[in-house]
Symmetry: C2
Subunit: 250 residues, 2 copies
């Protein structure tokens, strides 16, 4: 059974301020916990059910310390409406310096507020082999439990750099392509795109802010054929990145 103190600690980690104070975050569900255990994140606590142990015990690293708990315990402590698997607390990691080279390809998120969207975009980046993305400081938090959950384990492989996005884009060499979606943009389906440069994705409601739009030097658009005015930002990111990668696939 989980102590009141530990439940209080885990609950507190739902809030960014306390995550930063403790430099720790929560990972829930079988898939995400297993990915965490096989990553370089430092584990603080691991709470698993008997069921999880029976099914995945052989995947635990030797010497991994865990505590057996019930599904009720996990639901009380975490954010999932049901969780019959596990919950872990891990230490945040220090990122190495961001060193963006002209041959690199990344996604820059301008003010993406929904942690589910951020997590889905990290999962898309991981699928396409993009190891780091950049985020404006107003984006949802990488360590928000909803972000972590939506990544389905990709939080272990993709790094997110939070920075002043306008300044960062501005200091890039002018030869680097900075793509942004716009209704006036060129039809993605008609372009031969190389996965190099930066793809900027804007806020869910308001798109790319003017100070960021100024740094965009290539306008692109996803052609539409129906009545919808727009696509969800994670959906649009997936389509755009897929169009960049089609010439790289074997």
């Amino acid at each position: 059974m989980l102590s009141k103190a530990i439940i209080k600690y885990i609950n507190a980690l739902q809030v960014k301020k306390y995550r930063n104070q403790h430099q720790a975050f929560v990972v829930e569900g079988a898939k995400s916990v297993l990915e965490l255990l096989h990553s370089d994140f430092e584990l603080q606590h691991l709470f698993i059910t008997e069921e999880f142990l029976q099914e995945h015990g052989n995947k635990l690293n030797k010497g991994t310390r865990y505590e057996l708990v019930t599904e009720q315990d996990l639901t009380k402590a975490g954010t999932f409406s049901s969780n019959n698997a596990g919950l872990a607390v891990a230490r945040m990691r220090q990122l190495p310096n961001l060193n963006f080279k002209p041959s690199d390809f990344t996604i820059a998120l301008d003010d993406i507020r929904d942690p589910g969207n951020l997590g889905t975009i990290l999962r898309i980046a991981d699928w396409y082999g993009i190891k780091s993305i950049v985020c404006s400081e107003t984006c949802a938090d990488f360590y928000n439990p909803k972000t972590i959950s939506a990544t389905m384990g990709s939080f272990t492989r993709v790094k997110a750099y939070y920075l002043n996005l306008a300044e960062w884009l501005h200091q890039l060499p002018k030869s680097i392509a900075v793509y942004g979606a716009s209704l006036e943009g060129e039809n993605l389906h008609r372009m031969t795109l190389q996965p190099q440069g930066v793809v900027v994705m804007g806020n869910e409601a308001n798109g790319i802010r003017p100070e960021i739009a100024r740094e965009v030097n290539r306008l692109i658009k996803i052609p539409g054929f129906g009545g919808a005015e727009s696509l969800n930002v994670a959906t649009a990111t997936a389509i755009i990145i897929d169009n960049f990668m089609r010439h790289a696939s074997s």
Copy 2:
């Protein structure tokens, strides 16, 4: 101010059983309410704030009856955590018979349980001009408030037919292409796809069920380049449909 009776009615419409009983559903938020008002759905109730009236009053059809309410009223009655715009109750509509022709193109959802995913897929269908999709009877409900909300208005343009998916696929002429995603499938980026036939998308956790997989006659895959094992089903749908439409765009 909303009466207790109407709040109770709107709350009840969060549950499928009561939606079916009353043949009515709830639409929340400025964008969705405005799209509803300009659709052929029959309006039962319209509750809007003074703010919405001032901003969008000129878009209301002449003679539209509404009741002015507060943001607090809307939050109490609906499912949004905040809503300073409007909430409507509309009647479900009877769908015409599904008449799938060999030149048509549609998406078939096998057991998509999350209403947010269903809504996002309806929005994607709308973007690409797909007017009807088919759903197994176990899919999330089209009229679930979370589905409606995720469509961002596309529920007014895209129809969803709920049916026995295995039977429906089985009775299609054998000449119709039925596509399904599989790790053994052909690389989408290497194919020249025509938007004709049926694209089957499977359950979030378990993929396409065996009885449905038997009806698939073209295996395709989205090439991956990184560590993620899979993509969210709405994300994957978007990428696949975009690959089908690239030869159709102007």
